[in-house]
Symmetry: C2
């Protein structure tokens, strides 16, 4: 190592810290957390000599029953870390099944991120750390050494909402050099999400790259718009700047978005090499995005051959009074009569929307509208929505 390099290293490793703090800094910088062990256990570590108690909480721990105003509910478990003589706290998990997990630390009742793990995902206003364990399903969430699609953040003009709006678009490997036309999946986020949700929490690019490489999914374009009509872009990415993201956002489920959805289709079909017909359009969404997919696919009743409702927030709403909702039954029947190839409904057994989905299926049964129904374990969680995408996408455009 030459003199200049040493100077740089010293500069960056000492900046802002007194010399007596060097050892502590060195220890904190050298901590590996989380460490994914060969036996699929995971070790969490935290350097916090002054803390009285440190816990880790996350979806990798067995859920526990928690008392809430609604009665006992499932909540994420917690585990205690144990401190060693150097002030490093540690906890080793059970062997975990293949999955992308998220977690936080709780230090003396204060919930925070793991300073040793720079991989974080925002979900509404919460930021948590993530890690991946194992092969199998988890390999679908990894960036593998295969061909990759492109992920673009673009802005489209929405005359229906009188604004330019940000949108995330995945194009499959080789798209730019291809003269082919591709089918399109419109993939919609839930309440509190935005055009970043599916690409970040949903691992959409990794899932599509991997399933396309395996030959299980047809190369397609995936369009991830922002369903909050009062925003031009995700919090921090739009012209409103940085502000605390909210879970409930005005006007998200009053028909405005569904009514203006044709702007998005028009943008995609005039800017991308796409097969612009019903047989090559799919729409799917999670939670609120499932609600949107239900309504958009029947409001434009001869537009989509593939519809996916992932834990859909199916509900009668008092503010759902506009044109989009006025002919629910008639337009649903029109959609049925026009025909489609797949109407796919998936929900977890413990999802709080389970009954609402059951009610909706009864309605569909009553009118003779065909659908495929998948019931999974678990509740209203991203783990399920990633799995649903890996199950839904292979059925498209075949």
């Amino acid at each position: 190592m030459n003199k200049h390099l040493l100077l740089i290293l010293l500069f960056f490793s000492t900046l802002g810290f007194s010399s007596q703090a060097q050892e502590a800094i060195f220890r904190a910088q050298n901590i590996i957390s989380p460490e994914i062990n060969a036996d699929a256990t995971v070790t969490f570590r935290l350097h916090a000599p002054n803390a009285k108690a440190v816990q880790v909480t996350g979806d990798f721990l067995p859920s526990v029953k928690i008392e809430t105003p609604r009665g006992l509910m499932d909540g994420p478990g917690k585990a205690d870390l144990v401190k060693d003589d150097n002030g490093v706290w540690e906890f080793k998990s059970q062997a975990l099944s293949p999955e992308l997990y998220s977690y936080s630390f709780i230090i003396d009742d204060f919930r925070t991120t793991d300073p040793s793990n720079p991989f974080l995902i925002r979900d509404v206003a919460s930021v948590t750390n993530i890690f991946i364990v194992g092969k199998g399903q988890a390999d679908l969430y990894r960036t593998q050494d295969i061909l990759h699609g492109t992920v673009a953040r673009r802005w489209y003009d929405s005359p229906g909402l009188s604004m330019d709006r940000r949108i995330t678009i995945y194009t499959p490997p080789g798209y730019e050099k291809s003269t082919e036309k591709f089918p399109v999946l419109y993939l919609l986020h839930g309440a509190g999400g935005d055009e970043e949700a599916w690409i970040a929490l949903g691992r959409t690019a990794q899932i599509m790259d991997n399933l396309i490489a395996e030959g299980k999914v047809k190369p397609m374009i995936v369009v991830m718009p922002n369903g909050n009509v009062i925003q031009d872009g995700a919090p921090g990415e739009g012209s409103e700047g940085f502000y605390k993201p909210a879970f409930m956002i005005p006007k998200t489920m009053d028909g405005t978005y569904e009514g203006a959805f044709s702007d998005i289709i028009k943008f995609v079909e005039s800017n991308y090499q796409v097969k612009a017909d019903k047989a090559n359009r799919a729409i799917a969404g999670l939670s609120m995005g499932g609600y949107h997919s239900l309504h958009i696919s029947r409001y434009y009743p001869n537009t989509f051959d593939y519809v996916g409702l992932f834990s859909a927030a199916i509900m009668a709403r008092e503010d759902a009074t506009g044109k989009v909702y006025s002919d629910f039954d008639a337009s649903l029947k029109a959609q049925m009569d026009n025909g489609y190839k797949l109407y796919w409904i998936a929900i977890g057994k413990t999802d709080f929307l389970y009954d609402a989905n059951k009610e909706f299926r009864t309605k569909l049964d009553g009118m003779g509208m065909k659908y495929t129904y998948v019931e999974s374990e678990g509740g209203h969680i991203w783990r399920n929505w990633r799995v649903y995408l890996t199950q839904f996408a292979p059925q498209l455009f075949k």
Copy 2:
């Protein structure tokens, strides 16, 4: 609010917490931090009833002299938050000049992020919160209600490095619909950075959008590659998966990257509508990227009409023995003799690379190689590199 909505709100607001913890949770969720006040002061808040001491540290505070193994150095200041009866800690800053700032909290000597602020940027392995104050220069870093370019994460084939590699590319507003050809700025990151550095820490998309909208910068494509030849993508984005990012990465300054840089130019010029000539190519970089820009621009001595060295890590290295470095003086002279429009050198007065840059300018003076020199306040910091980009880009392709 109807019954279903209420159910959703309850579900999300109570999940995982016991009822007696409701008030604390509610308080924590409703904290606004940082709050940018009308008088340009900023209020920081943290709910941590069990903490004994809370500080905020960041580049918005006056720097302080800190004892290090190299002697007294400038380091970020710290300020104490004061606790109220509800366990909410608070600190209000002085009025701040327009800028994008970053900060962390220190809770009982444990450095962590602000849980009320989901806007975070990773720099090497550290994650800090950010906020923007004021107008003027700071407005260049905001997403404004103007036309926006597209930011794409793509993968290109690098035969010189025998791998597919991830790259970030900004195309200006209207690019996709245009039949025009555009000039290209290659913008290189520093040690420990990657293809995410300029777009995240550098606010490149916002800066370009704003300066193009003001008519101060010509519409151009900005190419942000990864200068770490052993990576195919940024930590967490490449096939190595999630791992703790390092500041010093092997083979970053041994000539391999410079030697294979033609792969990037070839990819850009065969995949984008670009003017593929010297008059329409610029290259600039910060720190290690300045070193790369220096060497790439002279190794391909008739390729770039515009060169920018931002706080360049100009240094003689023992591992710089290969073909790229073997004819430093001759190729630099060739570059000079071939001519160029701008050779722009910028550095802060307190930058630890100040002397190395001075030495290099003496060399250039000695051989009669012309350059423009800009000396700013401050040191080796992102604040300067964003400013340098806003100063350099308007001079290009005129």
